[in-house]
């Protein structure tokens, strides 16, 4: 799963498989981090103009 795991090999299989996986996880992580930080910022500067 990680390059420091003993089974890890720098072959095409690992790079494609885990490249896709970590890419997807990074998007989810970055998206949620953005939402949480922006929500904290919005709360501190409570503009009260957000509607959905």
């Amino acid at each position: 799963m990680f390059p420091f795991s003993f089974e890890w090999a720098w072959d095409i299989g690992h790079m494609v498989f885990f490249g896709g996986f970590w890419y997807a996880v990074s998007i989810l992580g970055a998206g949620m981090t953005f939402c949480i930080l922006k929500a904290a910022y919005d709360t501190m500067n409570d503009s009260g103009d957000s509607h959905h």
Partner: protein
């Protein structure tokens, strides 16, 4: 008693009535949990799985709930990427159904592996050449996507939304939901496909094996396509059941007609591909391996040609034809028949692709191996259904799941909601 939590202006049954309903369904959950612990503490000898059936009822249930849960990723794709705005009125419910389906699939897998303490091995010691490893990774990651998609709806609860941080968080998550939906579609494409790919690469099983494109057998594409086609049928079916139970109209007809139309065209295109695949397999692939079509549908007490005809014609061609024609699609009874047949059809397809594969004799000295699940397998398979009923009941009661509910139903003053 809990009126402060109920969406403003919405009418719900009294809390004691709700609690009694939940208690009844919880009894089924407890039965399933008891069977689950039996499997965990005593082992897989509690099941009727054997050397023939390493994949059995649980894997069928897993594939079936993942297929019908495909309504979430496909509706999300249509709503957020293709910008079909009408679907905003059913997307919350599609996400909840998807969340239930995928959490159920993970729960079933946690029971099926028999040794849950080593469940993390599939991630940590990943075999990158295994389609099931890809399924495990994509399934878990997509469940995270569904959780993220579900969170804003939870935060819109009347009380939670009063907390400024939650209010802003829900708003911000809506703002970037297209990114999450696109990631979900990417993950779904691969895990739905890989579940089909597992069957297609079983070279020792002539009933399952298929040719394909590069490393992907045709079943890879058929599984993804069928999940996108029949998943919305299940979303519409659960919506209809919820409307019947609550005695309310929850989604406008134009939204239902639109989703039914899209599902219909997806079913028609899928079933054409499925028929071509079946004919090619029956005429070319199986004979090249020394088998005739009749070998797979005779000399046993259960699997006959009826299952092939039911899956493809009755539960594929018929619902597809009903849903693509405006006159039949907009007839509520025929539409209900179509979505029920469609849901049965996709579950039957997964049954065939898991259990019939195991039943068919492969060696010349072999015989058909039929299987009936143990009560522990049945209880743990019913468990997710009961859990789903509870989660939908709680979500419907406390969350603004259906944006059109108030418009479609007479609003009474809040004081009369209890």
């Amino acid at each position: 008693m809990d009126s402060a939590l109920i969406p403003e202006g919405a009418k719900r049954c009294s809390f004691p009535k709700f609690a009694i309903g939940i208690a009844i369904v919880s009894a089924v959950v407890l039965w399933g949990v008891f069977a689950m612990f039996l499997c965990w503490f005593k082992g897989l000898n509690q099941t009727n799985m054997d050397d023939y059936y390493g994949f059995a009822l649980w894997i069928w249930a897993d594939l079936a709930v993942i297929a019908v849960g495909g309504g979430a990723f496909f509706t999300g794709l249509l709503r957020y990427i293709f910008k079909i705005d009408e679907l905003k009125n059913i997307i919350n419910f599609a996400v909840i159904i998807g969340f239930i389906c995928y959490s159920s699939a993970l729960l079933i897998l946690a029971i099926d592996i028999g040794q849950p303490l080593r469940g993390w091995f599939i991630f940590w010691h990943a075999n990158v050449h295994s389609m099931l490893t890809e399924v495990a990774f994509c399934l878990s990651a997509y469940f995270a996507v569904l959780t993220i998609e579900f969170i804003p709806n939870i935060l819109e609860n009347r009380q939670a939304n009063k907390v400024p941080f939650f209010h802003h968080l829900a708003h911000n998550m809506h703002g970037v939901m297209a990114v999450f939906a696109a990631t979900g579609a990417f993950l779904s494409f691969f895990h739905q496909g890989s579940l089909g790919g597992v069957a297609g690469v079983l070279y020792g099983r002539p009933f399952a094996v298929r040719e394909g494109l590069l490393i992907w057998p045709w079943t890879f594409f058929l599984f993804t396509w069928s999940a996108a086609a029949f998943g919305p049928c299940f979303t519409l079916l659960v919506t209809k059941i919820t409307e019947t139970v609550t005695g309310k109209k929850l989604v406008k007809d134009n939204v239902v007609h639109l989703l039914a139309k899209i599902s219909g065209w997806m079913i028609v295109t899928y079933i054409i591909a499925k028929i071509i695949d079946t004919i090619y397999w029956a005429m070319v692939t199986a004979p090249s391996l020394g088998f005739t079509l009749s070998h797979f549908y005779s000399n046993n007490g259960f699997y006959g040609y009826w299952i092939l005809i039911t899956e493809i014609v009755l539960c594929g061609v018929v619902p597809g034809a009903i849903l693509i024609m405006k006159s039949t699609r907009e007839n509520p009874t025929l539409r209900l028949v179509a979505i029920i047949l469609g849901t049965i059809g996709i579950c039957l397809n997964r049954w065939v692709m898991v259990l019939q594969i195991m039943a068919v004799p492969v060696m010349s000295f072999d015989t058909w191996a039929l299987y009936f699940p143990s009560w522990q397998e049945i209880a743990t398979t019913i468990l997710p259904v009961a859990y789903g009923i509870i989660l939908i009941s709680v979500a419907y009661r406390y969350l603004p799941v259906f944006p059109q509910e108030q418009e479609l139903n007479t609003i009474e003053p809040v004081s009369k909601t209890e």
